[in-house]
Amino acid sequence: MATALINAEHTTALARAVRIEHVSKSFPGPAGPQSVLDDISLDVAPGEFVTILGASGCGKSTLLNLVAGLDTPTAGAVTTEGRPALMFQEHALFPWLTAGKNIELALRLRGVAKNDRRPEAERLLELVRLGGAYGKRVHELSGGMRQRVALARALAQDSRLLLMDEPFAALDAITRDVLHGELTRIWAETGLSVLFVTHNVREAVRLAERVVLLSSRPGRVAKEWTVDIPQPRRIEDADVAELSVEITEHLRGEIRRHGWH
């Protein structure tokens, strides 16, 4: 009985795509260390889609860097299952490679055998509906297409966890809208866990199962919402708008707190 309990606990501990425990991060500043993140605890369940929302200066990107393993926390611990895949606001595709070769490089670095790379790259391009783009150069693709290739490259890492740092912020509204649908579809098809950082409230509500609002300077978890609006959602849906208004009120409150001093 006792062992069963321990095992159950053990599996739940493992069954977290991301576990962020009491994480703090400070950077050296002119007046001593500057606290950017303060005692953040947050879990992402396998297959869950979580957005982190916050105004500028809340340390969203810092948090994502910590989860990605590109930086280490000052205090606390971050655990992820395997190395996460990362997508940036800019596509970050390598311009000296074609779209297909960008994906193949990710496959190669993951250790996929030479002969399997091309079919796998083409399958991933199909998944983001860019079947004909294998031989295209990065500059020949539109902004939305580049982000989809970047998504395919991130998926090529075969990670169970996808980290996204405002990946659609630089796109026009129509393209962004369509890509929201694409991301939702691919998330549902692949069963990935997604940690998505944004400052766009509607985007957060449109995409996520859970929205986490961070306060600014230092970043703390201010409030969480579970979004139970069924997918597929649209950004103009009344339910999405209603929850967005509520979250925006809290976000504004967080920003106002900084107006005093």
Binding site: A92, V138, R153
Partner: protein, 299 residues
């Protein structure tokens, strides 16, 4: 909170999916640019004609100056005298030998400098201690005229080919290494982050991310490295002439000076210039164009 206005479950997703698919295809079609190929005629009129006109103009002015007799023929020989000098060398069968001797020395010296300068540049750019130690010296060496290396090279190595290579190496390696260093310094940090998150670290990172990302700066360094190789070689050939050394373009120039044969001097200068231009046009030009076009930095 649940959406009650979505209609019967099942119909919306498929309709939604089809609509999204069409929207996506429409966006892709609207956003894709069509590149145009340049025709042969445009290449001729845009790339070949202007330099041909410039050369013709120089020849005309040159001929006009000799006709006007502004100075003696042995000071300013007419183009025809230079042409005779050229055909003379050609018929004696030495022209190609002379050009080839210098080109061979220049290119092999350059390749040697490439093999040394590339790892050196990578080391200086990526290892802090090495950068602090020899970075400034490397920078300084780039502005040191390589002629300065001729006297010590002659004393150390004697009058033979190894001395030529030493001068080329000392002249070209700092440019090649320096070009690579500045190329690496100019890599957008985003590429390095992306590379790291894909697992490209250490040597794999250097091979798959750092080197290709630094290629524009590296290529600029190679171009300058070649120019320095060629210049250093000519300086070495002019200063160090000995019967043991094969006759190169620099020696041709120097022999013209010794015999006050201005037509030969002119010929040697024109040939030295020509080799530099041809190597640039045939080797670095295409490399650079290909790289820029692939990266969308040039149509």
């Amino acid at each position: 909170m649940a959406g009650t206005d979505l209609g019967p479950a099942g119909t919306r997703p498929s309709r939604e999916l089809r609509a999204a698919s069409n929207e996506l295809a429409g966006l892709d079609a609207l956003d894709t640019h069509q590149g145009a190929r340049t025709s042969l005629r445009r290449v001729l009129s845009g790339k070949v004609l202007p330099p041909a006109v410039a050369v013709a103009l120089v020849l005309t002015v040159w001929q006009a100056l000799t006709w006007a007799r502004i100075t003696d023929d042995y000071m300013l020989p007419p183009p025809s005298a230079v042409w005779h000098s050229l055909s003379d060398l050609w018929f004696r069968g030495t022209l190609l030998d002379v050009v080839w001797t210098s080109v061979w020395r220049g290119l092999s010296g350059f390749l040697l400098a490439l093999a040394i300068g590339t790892p050196l540049g990578l080391l200086v750019a990526r290892v802090k201690f090495v950068r602090a130690a020899i970075g400034p010296i490397l920078q300084g060496l780039q502005s040191l005229p390589s002629v300065a290396w001729v006297p010590p090279a002659v004393l150390w190595l004697g009058l033979d080919d190894s001395m030529m290579y030493a001068v080329i190496l000392l002249g070209a390696t700092p440019s090649i290494a320096g070009g690579l260093v500045s190329g690496i310094d100019q890599i957008p940090p985003l590429f390095l982050r992306a590379g790291r998150s894909l697992g490209a670290t250490g040597l794999r990172g250097a091979r798959h991310v750092v080197m290709p990302a630094a290629l524009p700066g590296y290529l600029a360094g190679l171009k300058q490295g070649w120019a320095f190789s060629w210049r250093s070689l000519m300086a070495a050939e002019i200063i160090a002439s000995s019967p043991d050394l094969g006759l190169g373009l620099g020696q041709l120039l120097e022999s013209g000076r010794e015999t006050s044969d201005m037509a030969r001097i002119f010929l040697a200068i024109v040939l030295i210039l020509l080799v530099g231009v041809v190597v640039d046009l045939l080797v670095f030009g295409p490399l650079e164009r290909r790289m820029l076009r692939r990266r969308g930095l040039r149509p």
